[in-house]
């Protein structure tokens, strides 16, 4: 008997029990939907992370004092001068700026607003490619050297303090000092950055005038190329340890390193969810087996007739196997559509770029056929082995 006829017979069998076949498919649909959705989201999320990192500077790296260091902590472990020397001396470091993070209340013309303060140097914009100047100018070298009381606001802080007014040239108060707004920047925020408050940038040497003993909390560097990131990081580490009489006092990290850690985490999460989704798929498969067993019992007489008319064991086996594979494939198709749809909706609302995990779609189809064969084999074999005399007598 040819395969086409087997398909026709199988589809007739499924169609004759629409409700039951539909419910059986539901188990597969739910399983495949969750597998696809989980994988698409997982992979899509990772892809988005990679894209972000590419955009935010795959070449940038961060230097801090290692909090786990056993060596003595000093306020001068990192200095503004370190960045200048390193930039000049190392062929692998294109630019480097000192950074102090903090927050302060900034008093605008109408209201006061809690704002993140980032004290840094003139090259900060050149390293953080996601921040763009919109109005005025950024902190200059001279601003920094002369410790000028100037401030650059991001669009969020500017909007909060000045509403629709032009903030350039206006004065605001922070640290009980009057400072002049010289520019506005717009930050293309890291997609996974959930912070709500705005940020203001001030020259780091100006910031240090408010400190009893001037300090720098971290350095931000940019390597000359992706390939030299590791070298730049190593050189920075060596230089700092030597310069400040330490042996291993610093922690240098690149965005890429953090990305790989994050990737490990999302991989783990995806795996856990995939296992759960896989279990639901397995349960769906058991449902298929259950229904196929019922179907074989119900159709015992039909099997007897077919055998009496000359059906071989393999004809009966294939008939039932195809039936269970079709049930699983239809369930798989619906599941893929729903899974891709669900993932698309979630990525849309989460603001992630659309992503389709083709490999998991292909895998899902393969997997549902395998489930159909695996869970259909036992019932189909049972049918194929029926004794025609017994089967014909069955009421």
């Amino acid at each position: 008997m040819n395969l086409l006829e087997s398909f026709r017979i199988a589809i007739e069998g499924i169609w004759a029990n629409k409700m039951r076949s539909g419910l059986t498919m539901l188990g597969i649909v739910i399983g495949i939907t969750s597998v696809i959705a989980v994988n698409t989201l997982g992979q899509g999320g990772q892809q988005a992370l990679v894209n972000e990192v590419e955009k935010f500077g795959a070449t940038s790296f961060n230097v801090m004092v290692d909090w786990n260091s056993k060596e003595e902590f000093k306020n001068q472990d990192l200095t503004v001068e370190d960045t200048e020397i390193l930039t000049k001396a190392s062929p692998y470091i294109e630019k480097m700026v000192p950074v102090n993070y903090g927050s302060a209340d900034i008093q605008g013309p109408k209201k006061s607003e809690r704002t993140n303060i980032m004290a840094t140097g003139a090259d900060y914009l050149a390293i953080q490619s996601n921040i763009k100047l919109v109005k005025g100018r950024f902190i200059s070298k001279d601003d920094d050297l002369e410790k000028r009381a100037v401030i650059v606001l991001d669009d969020q802080a500017a909007a909060a303090l000045f509403k629709k007014q032009n903030p350039i040239g206006q004065r605001v108060r922070m640290y009980n000092t009057s400072v002049v707004v010289i520019g506005v920047v717009k930050e293309d925020k890291f997609r996974f950055d959930m912070s709500q408050s705005g940020t203001a940038y001030i020259p780091i040497r100006f910031d240090q005038t408010f400190q009893d003993e001037p300090y720098v909390s971290s350095l931000l560097g940019k390597a000359s190329s992706k390939e030299t990131v590791e070298l730049a990081m190593q050189q920075t580490k060596n230089y700092l340890n030597r310069k400040h009489n330490h042996t291993d006092h610093y922690m240098v990290r690149s965005l890429q390193q953090e990305l790989s850690q994050l990737n490990q985490m999302t991989d783990m999460l995806t795996l856990v969810f995939s296992v759960i989704a896989g279990i639901s798929l397995f349960v769906g498969g058991i449902g298929v087996m259950n229904i196929m067993l019922v179907s074989v019992t119900e159709r015992t007489r039909e099997i007897g007739i077919r055998k009496a008319l000359g059906a071989q064991r393999k004809d009966i086996l294939i008939q039932f196997l195809i039936e269970s594979v079709i049930v699983c494939l239809i369930g798989g198709t619906v599941g893929v559509i729903l899974g891709v749809g669900a993932a698309a909706i979630i990525t849309y609302f989460a603001g992630l770029p659309p992503f389709l995990a083709w490999d998991s779609v292909v895998l899902a189809f393969g997997f549902s056929s395998v489930i159909g064969i695996f869970f259909g084999l036992y019932p189909a074999n049972k049918a194929a082995k029926l004794d025609p005399i017994e089967a014909l007598r069955y009421e």
Binding site: M1, N2, E5, E12, A16, R301, E302, G304, I305, R306, K307, A308, L309, G310, A311, Q312, R313, D315, P388, I389, L392
Partner: protein, 239 residues
Amino acid sequence: MLQIEGMTKTFVSGGTELHILKGVTLRVEAGEFVAIMGPSGSGKSTFMNMLGCLDRPSSGSYQLDGIEVTQLPEKKLAEVRNRKIGFVFQAFNLLPRSSALQNVELPMLYAGLGRKERRTRALDALRRVGLAERINHKPPQLSGGQKQRVAIARALVNQPAILLADEPTGNLDSRSSVEIMAIFQELHAQGVTIILVTHETDIAQHAQRIITFKDGNILSDERVQEPLIASPSEEVFVT
């Protein structure tokens, strides 16, 4: 055509051996119309299963159309059932969801015939039993007599060596029974070998030869001097 020698069948049930067939020897020539009779428990149903290659004897030989079938593997046996034997059952045994045409096509499906040929031959077989008008009806839409005629068409369609009919009129009223017997007689006249199991004497009288079973053996094997001629009141087209 059909040669059986010393056929026995023993079932073991609860530790005791039941000898259902006790060495049956029988020869049926091509073109014969044989009726097998006997009370229930006489072994005639088991014998029928043996003839239809649905079961294997415990010992003895069975040659069908020159093939020794007792030693054939399962796969070959299915082929023999498909090509050499046409079954007609008391309970019709049609597939309820398939049309008359599809039911008749079924044996040819397992014989691996092409779609066109299946259709032509199925239509032809249905015409032979007078059901050309009802090819697309499904069994529940057909009367008992019509169902049995579909079953006969299905049995004939692979041009089998023998047509085995097990109580074919058992579920039919007398008028339909006569119609079915008329078809059998017509097929017999065309040269089809028919073996019919029945417990009704008047049905058996339509055959040429009556074999009576008792206690697993052939009790008698007689020629029918003047077979009854089935003449249905309604005309049945057997061409």
